[in-house]
Symmetry: C2
């Protein structure tokens, strides 16, 4: 986009600072090179961004939805896709394997999901083990039995996965370390019963704490948000929403970035050079810092509290360098 | 969609119960017939749904974004569109007026926005007055002055608007009544200074309390959510998310409806026949009621806490009658 400035972008617009983004990718690739990182695409839902992660040396990816698997395979990024989630629409995944010659492995935690995988034409599975997060995953004691069942049906069991989602966001590093150790005991025991080459786990908050998984499923590290920023990780805030000031009153101002441009489950976003007052559907009301008075038409930056559900509202990410727009990246893996 | 059953829909899917929806439209049309209601399309972002509201007798609509105005005009619903929000991209609105022969009126609360309207080719404005919500809107004492300014530039000032957004969601009806009276005093005083045929205000929570506005901007009434449900209004919960159970553990179950399928600013959604535990990006972990045990593959219903940001995540609304899918309604006004 030669010559396009961010001042020309329609707002709200989701910006990715290229220097911060490249810092995040290179920092992670140095810590977890190659297949030691299996980047999670749910954080960005963007094949253009995933292609940069592949260029950084990571051959496989983690997905959360069938749509993400389909889109990644169609974009030529299907060398080793893990759907780290139980799903029932396995025939769509079987279709991906057959038509895109992609490698698709799916998480299973019950005989019902194993049966669905088999019926849908998926050939490779990972046993999803509950390591403490009350969500999906088989009881560690049952992992071996489920693996036996899957193998008895002719499926390849590549190993185990156990996501420590109850740990990754905790601010205290000692607590994260201690709880990750508890997860380790559970998952390695299960892996002993299951076998296979993969022990898949972890996230951005445990990327350098979980040293025993064969691969880490981090996704947020590439863009970051204010929730993860509290953990003191070496990743930079690369994502921001560009918004326009549309109204100024004595004591506050309003910009055009609201609930439909921001994931709100982690609370309010952060206004650069201001304080968030509250968000409405299409507005953010904020109090500008004393030395940063704003006028109608000014642009502000808003830092999301949670990257994943924020990106899912937007059609594009805009890669930027200072005031220049480098590339539009379609958020092409939205929906289901 | 002759013969299609909801059991065939991919999940998560946003369902609209036709009987509840028709009840809501007819109840509102009886209370606020014709132009007394200016339905707000931000709640549903769907021209097919808006067309039903037009059939119910309401000729004009309220929009929150330029994109909503463009889409409504392109769908032939542009007889009288109010963009009840300050925007700066007025040339897109001028284009709508010229190319779709639509009538577009835009809210203004500063000389800067008046100037933008003029430059963009918009000819009609409404003076947006702050009646107590700390967001947009001119001080009531300045409304007449701003109207004079707009008229001096050749714009038509159709009247005033003042949204009591700080009142519409309060659970106590006496409190809503008392605070709406305070808004009345402010807005009618401003209208006295401004003139014009329109006094636009209100929302679903004050639709029968605000008796003095010439038109009410309610939107949520058509679909409803759990936040508005607490107010004891005569509108029914027509909207639900259909989700599939993908995992069952002792004590909880997980379905495929998470943060990217639900607006979360009003808190957790409500699981029918269960209790919400927590939501993740693509999961809802819930505790099934004792007499409603679930198995993998079962379908559940989840009632959103806030309709507007929920709909904005979805590509379709599915109009349903019991187990039958009647029509897919594209959510075609998303984005900006």
């Amino acid at each position: 986009m030669r010559g396009v400035k961010i001042s020309e972008l329609q707002t709200p617009a989701l910006l990715v600072d290229s220097a911060d983004f490249e810092h995040n990718l290179s920092t992670m690739a140095a810590a977890l090179p190659g297949a030691r990182l299996r980047p999670h695409v749910k954080a960005h839902k963007c094949t253009a961004l995933a292609a940069r992660q592949e260029l950084a040396g990571h051959p496989g990816f983690t997905c959360a939805t069938v749509r993400e698997v389909e889109g990644m395979a169609a974009a030529g990024l299907g060398e080793d896709l893990l759907l780290a989630n139980e799903v029932l629409e396995m025939s769509r995944l079987g279709h991906v394997c057959a038509n895109h010659r992609a490698r698709v492995t799916v998480a299973v935690d019950s005989e019902a999901v194993v049966d669905a995988a088999l019926a849908g034409g998926v050939r490779e599975v990972l046993i999803d083990v509950n390591v403490g997060l009350p969500r999906c995953g088989v009881d560690p004691a049952d992992a071996g039995r489920l693996a036996d069942y899957a193998r008895s049906k002719g499926l390849t069991v590549r190993g185990v996965m156990g996501y420590e989602g109850h740990v990754v966001g905790l601010e205290s590093r000692p607590t994260r370390e201690e709880m990750t150790e508890q997860c380790k005991a559970l998952l390695l025991k299960a892996h002993g019963d299951v076998g296979g080459e993969l022990i898949s786990a972890g996230g951005t908050g445990t990327y350098d704490i979980n040293t025993w998984a064969t691969e880490i499923q981090a996704g947020s590290y590439a863009l970051m948000d204010t929730a993860y920023d509290k953990l003191g990780l070496p990743f930079r805030q690369a994502l921001s929403v560009l918004a326009s000031v549309i109204s100024v009153s004595p004591g506050w101002a309003v910009a055009d970035c609201g609930l439909k441009a921001l994931g709100m489950d982690h609370g309010n976003p952060t206004v650069v050079d201001g304080t968030t007052f509250f968000c409405s559907d299409e507005h953010i009301t904020f109090i500008p810092d004393e030395d940063h008075a704003v006028r109608v038409g000014d642009r502000i930056r808003v830092i999301p509290a949670h990257v994943d559900p924020t990106v899912a509202y937007h059609q594009h990410l805009w890669l930027t360098d200072g005031d220049d727009v480098l590339e539009p990246w379609p958020v092409d893996l939205r929906g289901w």
